[in-house]
Symmetry: C2
Subunit: 353 residues, 2 copies
DNA sequence: CTCCTGGACGGTAACGTTTCCAAGTTTTAC
DNA sequence: GTAAAACTTGGAAACGTTACCGTCCAGGAG
């Protein structure tokens, strides 16, 4: 019995023409009703609406977007690993704002390489999206100039194009974290850096400024540049630095994943260490407060990052906003949880569990 | 200086007609070249390709999708909170597969209520997506029957429609978790349940079956149904149950967020408890291994869930797959980390480490 | 009664692509 | 050398919508 799945009944969806016929009106009238219904007699509009309901008509957004000059009611979002809560939060927030205005959000597939990013963006542009939100990779983004759609960069700026950008105060955050550690009396603070994104550079800058302001010199051997931005790399680096003859007394991890790696390394080293270093991370993360030593972090309102970007883009797309490119910077705050405290190195002043 | 942002140069993007003119060929020829170039003389094709490059032509996917019967090259993904790593993983994985076939993924904005879900889905359908991947909310999904696009449900089935479904072996997972606890000698195991999704019901079923197989009766007062599926609700419930005169010696949390709540509650209670209960969670989560007591969980390959769904949907959309609705079930495994072990307090029936 | 104004409506041309069909051209077969 | 077949190519129709331009009618002004 070569059972076959009943191929799609293929009932073509009703169109405005069907509605017009059913309601006994012209095509233009249906269009007017569908778009707010100005200039249509109430009685006529009623009839049209009735026909729409009976037929289950739904406007074909594709045909609508085909009209000259019109863009679709979709925004594109291009970002890295959705598995990173940072990106996921941005996605969720922008989705929410876009949805409120009846816009959908298209996610391009995002590989890691700049070339893949470019391809993904062009694919998205060919879909006539009304605007692009991009968390840019490194590499030149000048090719976006001629795309004909508004662009908002999120979290970090891109080179080669002057567009709106929404980001957090990375330098301020880096400074905040460092000042906190310095205030605890630490003078040998290591900073673990992910591959040089713009954001990381600014955080490092804050780190240096805080040192300068405190009159303490940065030990360059404690400025650790990782080859990759994942937890494993941070774990390895932490391992290495803590086993040096003169290890740091505090560590600033410049990224949520890096913080995880640092903590993992410290957990493994455990009693091998003379004293547990203080730790501050950049960006909050789930369960940070439930670890053996709750982690102090510098945090910002990531969701607001996504919301602002979406709002700005929607305004640009509708033409409501024609200001020069904006630069929105969100503040960072410190969430103290204990890991930033000076360790009671020898004596176990540690809280009982 | 009333500075105004240079309004879009509004250079209309070149069309196939422009390409045709430039290459001195007909429109149909350009179309053929763009779509693989069968039936075009090599020399002609060269000329067309040259014109495409010079003009920077890019096919307008919107116009393309307008043709009769044609759907766009986008898949829709409808799911809950992207901030939940479970959903984020599905999104990432499906995005990856779709991207490999040149498909984009549209995320509908998803409120929590079933009504919002329906609205979002219809919005997506009106965008002529080639297929829908849905992590369904409760409520009838019969309205999808006439949508005219293939549908794949992810993680749980929906009522009112017979469609493909990709899910994990919830019952098996529930059983596995429970058997593990029973094997440790626990006889009073609490199970914390999120609001009754299908998945939760199956996990409970596995819980009961494991008990029956072991000849142990389930204490119904330890089957705890939460009003909400978040960590806070689980925290509160755990608090309550652990302070009863006869608390459970083990807890099975039916969801990653619930596991977090359970652990939080146990952490707070701390020394108030006679002995720390064993804990097993459903679904792995980041940092589970770094908590004061590393958490044992039942886990499955969530990414594979997303990948399978996307693959299946693409096949359906292309017409390559006309089998009856499929039901793909992925296995669950146990990841032992310690929290599932019997607490050493009373009798040391515990396995030597 | 005529003229004019304005609102309500119908019809049609686009938008950019794909898919036909017919016409033109070459190649193949006899 | 001719007929048929195969391959190329150009052109036009269609997809569903919106924007525009008329037409029609009612009602008010003159």
């Amino acid at each position: 019995m070569p059972e076959t799945f009943p191929t799609k009944p293929e009932v073509p969806r009703p169109t405005m023409i069907d509605v017009a016929r059913r309601a006994g009106v012209g095509l233009g009238t249906v269009s007017r009703v569908v778009n707010g219904g100005h200039g249509v007699r109430d009685e006529t509009a009623q009839r049209v609406r009735a026909a729409i309901d009976e037929l289950g008509f739904q406007r074909n957004e594709v045909a609508r977007a085909l009209r000259p000059g019109k863009k679709s009611t979709s925004l594109a979002l291009v970002l890295g690993d959705l598995t990173n809560p940072f990106y996921a939060t941005i996605a969720k927030a922008s989705l929410e704002i876009a949805g409120q205005s009846g816009f959908a959000v298209v996610l391009g597939s995002v590989d890691e390489d700049p070339e893949g990013e470019k391809r993904a963006i062009q694919e998205l542009v060919s879909r006539q999206v009304a605007g692009l939100m991009i968390v840019p990779d490194q590499g030149d983004h000048a090719f976006l100039e001629g795309a004909g759609v508004p662009v908002v960069f999120v979290d970090r700026p891109a080179t080669g194009i002057d567009a709106d950008i929404v980001m957090v105060d990375n330098e301020g955050g880096g400074r905040l974290a460092t000042e906190h550690l310095l205030a605890q009396g630490h003078e040998r603070i290591a900073i673990i850096l992910a591959p040089s994104y713009y954001t990381i550079g600014r955080r490092l800058r804050g780190f240096r400024r805080a040192h300068r302001a405190a009159g303490i010199e940065v030990d360059e051997s404690l400025v650790i540049q990782l080859p990759e931005g994942n937890a494993e790399a941070a774990e390895k680096a932490t391992h290495e630095v803590m086993l040096r003859p003169d290890p740091p007394t505090a560590i600033f991890a410049s990224t949520n994943f890096l913080t995880e790696g640092v903590l993992r390394a410290l957990g493994e080293l455990g009693s091998e260490l003379r004293s547990e270093p203080a730790v501050v991370g950049f960006d909050d993360f789930r369960l940070a407060d439930m670890l053996p030593t709750p982690v102090t972090v510098v945090a910002s309102d990531i969701a607001e990052l996504g919301r602002s970007a979406a709002r700005l883009l929607l305004d640009r797309a509708s033409g409501a906003d024609t200001r020069p490119p904006q630069r929105i910077v969100l503040p960072c705050g410190l969430i103290e949880r204990g890991s930033g405290e000076r360790a009671p190195d020898s004596a176990a002043k540690r809280k009982p569990r």
